[in-house]
């Protein structure tokens, strides 16, 4: 009798952990799929809206346009990227040890999902590695613009 109970318990536990595993797996692979979709779309948007200034390889253009290769700037300003993209930027900033003071135009027409896709692309190219960034995060970040 006791043995049977034991076996049932073991079965239950393994079933439970197995379903947990499946759940977790499907979640992460959904994020994986989203990540890939965002990255590819983001690349297209980058070519359309950003590449002329920041260059194909993200190196910018001398002191006229800053590079997007300053990984620590991108990492620490992850939550401001949406604001920079949507509303533009016109302050003094230091990128890769160099000072820039120029004007980046706004992209008011871009939707939250466009912005998130752009961030997934630039945030995981040119040496950057900030991982996934969702449209809902863009939506939230756009309510807290600092610049």
């Amino acid at each position: 009798m006791r043995r049977r109970q034991m076996r049932n318990r073991i079965l239950l536990i393994s079933f439970f952990s197995f379903s947990l595993f499946i759940l977790f797996e499907s979640c992460s692979s959904e994020e994986q799929i989203n990540y890939q979709r965002y990255y590819v779309n983001g690349k297209g948007l980058y070519e359309q809206h950003c590449q002329n200034c920041h260059a194909k390889d993200g190196t910018g253009l001398k002191s006229l346009y800053p590079p997007l290769t300053d990984t620590s700037y991108i990492q620490s300003n992850k939550n401001q990227l949406s604001c920079i993209i949507k509303y533009g930027l016109n302050t003094k900033i230091e990128i890769a040890g160099k000072e820039y003071h120029a004007e980046m135009p706004a992209n008011a027409q871009l939707s939250d999902i466009d912005i998130a896709q752009l961030i997934v692309y630039i945030g995981n190219s040119f040496g950057n590695k900030i991982g996934y960034y969702d449209a809902s995060e863009a939506n939230a970040d756009l309510k807290n613009c600092k610049f």
Binding site: N52, A55, L61, K62, S63, L64, Y65, A102
Partner: protein
Amino acid sequence: MRIFFIFLLAGLTLQGCKNETKSELPILGHREPVERQVEGKTVVDTIYQTIEPFSYLNQDSTLVTEKDFNGKIYVADFFFTSCNTICPVMHRNMLNVYEKFKGNPKVKFLSHSIDSKYDVPSKLKKYADKLGIEGTQWEFVHGSSDSIYNVSAKNYLVAAYEDKTDPQGFVHQGWFILVDENKHMRGAYDGTKDDQVEQMVADMQILLNEKKTNEK
């Protein structure tokens, strides 16, 4: 027999390749035949379009005229400093070409601003500084809008004019125009396209090697 055909084919292909590498550049623009009499016979000369005399202020507020380009080949283009569409791409490419010919006394660059209201010499200076350009090998010039639009259309055959319906206020094309020592146009390249800019570099080399034969 088969071997023979293969050789023939290879020979023809090589021949085809050879014809593609041009060693002479055409003279662009309009031309006029002019007749003159030589020892009782009629000889027809061709007068090619040349860049007309000009005078502008550069980034150092110094007067720049066509004389500064005598005996040199140069690349001309049209831009404005606040342009955020094709200009950054053009000047990223132009900068690469400039780096290749930097210090060569026979090569110059001439960028005309088409925004005469905003791009006064001090603005051009700031722009040149930010692009890392020193000296006068690459001139950024300011002129009245009439003279610039006239020169772009008439001399360099490039469209550039003000347009209130354009989001940036100007219509202009991203051509790089290659001009030889005799102020004849020898090539036009889309300054936003890598392969065309590469072609221009090759053509500049051809011009530098060209003997001054067309001088009349």
